[in-house]
Amino acid sequence: MKVIVPVKRVPDTAGDKVIDADTKTMDRDAGETVLCPVNEFAIEEAVKLKEATGAEVTVLLIGPDGAQSTIRKALSYGLDGAIQVTDDAISGSDALGTARVIAAALADVEFDVVIFGNQSTDARTSLVPAAVAELLDLPSLTYARFMEIDGDAITVHREHEEGWDVVESTLPAVVSVVEAINEPRYPNFKGIMAAKSKPLDVKSLADLGVDAAAVGAGDAAATMYAFEPRPPKAAGTIVTDDGSGSAADDLADWMEEQKFI
């Protein structure tokens, strides 16, 4: 079985995010970048498949040269190799542009299942997995909180607000997983050491036959018109009790006013 795990380099989730005023896109060079933490759940599912079936797992990353440390981090979990698509024209792509590049990269290789994290911690659109499935005309099994592969069949539990749906399909298929699906392991040191010797296949848009005009900021379907930093937290309301128990009434009144009750 061949498994592809698309991964993303994101700003350190502990740091502040910086938006470039000119391009209105995230400044990815401001501060530390990390492997998107949601990807770790997708990697864990892939590693479990590798352990159970000997699956060959390849990571796929769209990003510049500097993103190779993210690839190495992903490989340190014991994965087999990586594909990097890098091209200046990709910069500024929206979710659809990103999906086009990923779909083109996937169309170029053999696979049975693609496992995404259901969202990235920077953009949080959750659009890319379904868009990739659509572009490749493959079954889309999103928000999986459980997945199981049996021969050519895949079953996932798709999480939603009221519980989950049991969704079945044939392979190949595109899956996105939510954080409830597993508890990612830590990479071990042998995996860390092996990561740098794993094959890395670097491709440009031209290699994939993607028209540079179809991706990047220029052709984005979504337009960012304005942005502003999150306003500072407003001071809270303090309810003081004068000793008579009046605070309980005041608190109830306030909660009613705010339509909490």
Binding site: S69, R72, K73, S76, R185, Y186, P187, N188, F189, K190, G191, I192, M193, A195, K196
Partner: protein
């Protein structure tokens, strides 16, 4: 261009940007160990310390991480650089010296002599299991009456036919009570020899040392051997004399000179955080000059200690590290860490003596680290001899 920039703002937690001196693999290792410590050690270490326990399952987790005997080659070991081993020790000790001690003893004191001096059979039998954390090792050199002067040891191993028979007592043995195998050094007719002793051998017993106020999340034991009979092939064939145990100690001390920086960093960061949020006289205590001096002095000390550790690590990887330079690092970095811990404790005031914060735990741990693996005094005398050519030990 002057080369000095005013637009850069170094981070308080890595002021000299020592991270920039690490390669990508070292950073991945550091981040992984730091994540593990943050997830598995820091949430519970206060309780473990209070109860005087270290959970047994940590051994398997440390094995899964590949940190046990990581600097050894083959037999299930990762074959890391010395610097990588040191950096792992640093991150572990930023959690707790007890956790780092576990890894030091397993890798440098128990696995290393089997790896360096053991027979092929001994290596095959023990190293893969120990690397995985399924078998735990300890190291028996120190005795109740033989500490800084280990060659005065009284434990003996006598030939009886093909067998060896051990008698004696070892003291202050980390992991002793939980070990599956002990590497024991004993006096023989051929000088000091090392023995690989399965702890289920008749005549082996271990009991806890008297109640201790330091390294509480670590097992410390007294080992007693009473007519303990071993087959002839239990001896480590590759070494005779004090060179055997002393070479193990050099490996372990190297890990400690990194580890102490981790403990110091944890104390400094705790004090920095506390000083920024604790208010007295209507302002954070970080706004008082006396507190700022303490914070700055701790920061400078931690960064200098880190540079020393990293430099010695690079020298060791280049095959250029002198044993006396290990003494420099062990002596000064542990003394530095103890001083930083005490200063941090004073910044935290009364809160600094509780287990809600890490500083008193590190401070008490460091009292042991100051003494074990060559006391501060002995390392000072090693360096004194290196400077003057005069032996002031005896």
């Amino acid at each position: 261009m002057s080369g000095v920039r005013t637009d850069l703002a170094p981070t308080p937690t890595d002021f000299l940007d020592v991270r920039s001196m690490l390669d990508e693999q070292e950073r991945l290792l550091v981040d992984t160990v730091r994540d593990w410590v943050g997830d598995r050690v820091l949430p519970d270490i206060g309780d473990w310390y209070d109860q005087g326990i270290i959970p047994a399952e940590l051994a398997g987790e440390l094995g899964d991480l590949g940190l046990l005997g990581m600097h050894l080659e083959g037999y299930g070991c990762a074959g890391s650089s010395s610097t990588e081993y040191g950096l792992a020790c640093l991150e572990l000790e930023a959690g707790d010296s007890g956790v780092r001690s576990f890894v030091s003893v397993q890798g440098s004191l128990a696995m290393y002599p089997i790896w360096a001096f053991g027979s092929e059979e001994q290596k095959q039998q023990w190293l893969p299991e120990m690397a995985a954390g399924r078998a735990i090792g300890c190291f028996g050199l120190t005795e109740p009456d033989s500490g800084s002067d280990p060659s005065s040891m009284r434990t003996t191993a006598k030939r009886d036919g093909d067998d060896w028979v051990l008698n004696g007592t070892k003291m202050w043995i980390t992991n002793g009570g939980v070990a599956d195998v002990a590497v024991v050094w004993a006096r023989t007719d051929e000088g000091v020899r090392g023995f690989v002793v399965p702890t289920d051998t008749d005549g082996f017993s271990a009991r806890p040392v008297p109640p201790k106020m330091s390294l509480r999340a670590s097992v410390t034991s007294e080992l007693v051997f009473t007519d303990l009979r071993l087959p002839g092939d239990a001896v480590l064939p590759g070494v005779q004399g004090m060179r055997g145990p002393l070479s193990c100690l050099n490996e372990a001390r190297f890990g400690i000179l990194f580890g102490a920086v981790g403990a110091a960093r944890a104390c400094y960061e705790s004090a920095l955080d506390y000083a920024g949020t604790r208010e007295q006289f209507d302002r954070p205590i970080a706004s008082f000059q006396l507190t700022q001096r303490k914070l700055v002095e701790m920061m400078v000390a931690v960064n200098k200690g880190m540079l020393v550790a990293l430099h010695l690590g690079r020298r060791k990887d280049a095959g250029e590290l002198a044993a006396t330079q290990v003494s420099f690092g062990k002596m000064d970095n542990v003394a530095m860490a103890l001083e930083v811990a005490r200063t941090a404790r004073s910044v935290l005031g009364a809160n600094g003596i509780t287990l809600e914060y890490p500083v008193i735990r590190h401070m008490n741990n460091l009292e042991s680290v100051f003494t074990y693996e060559g006391t501060n005094e002995i390392h000072t005398l090693i360096l004194g001899q290196a400077l003057t050519g005069i032996n002031a030990f005896t």
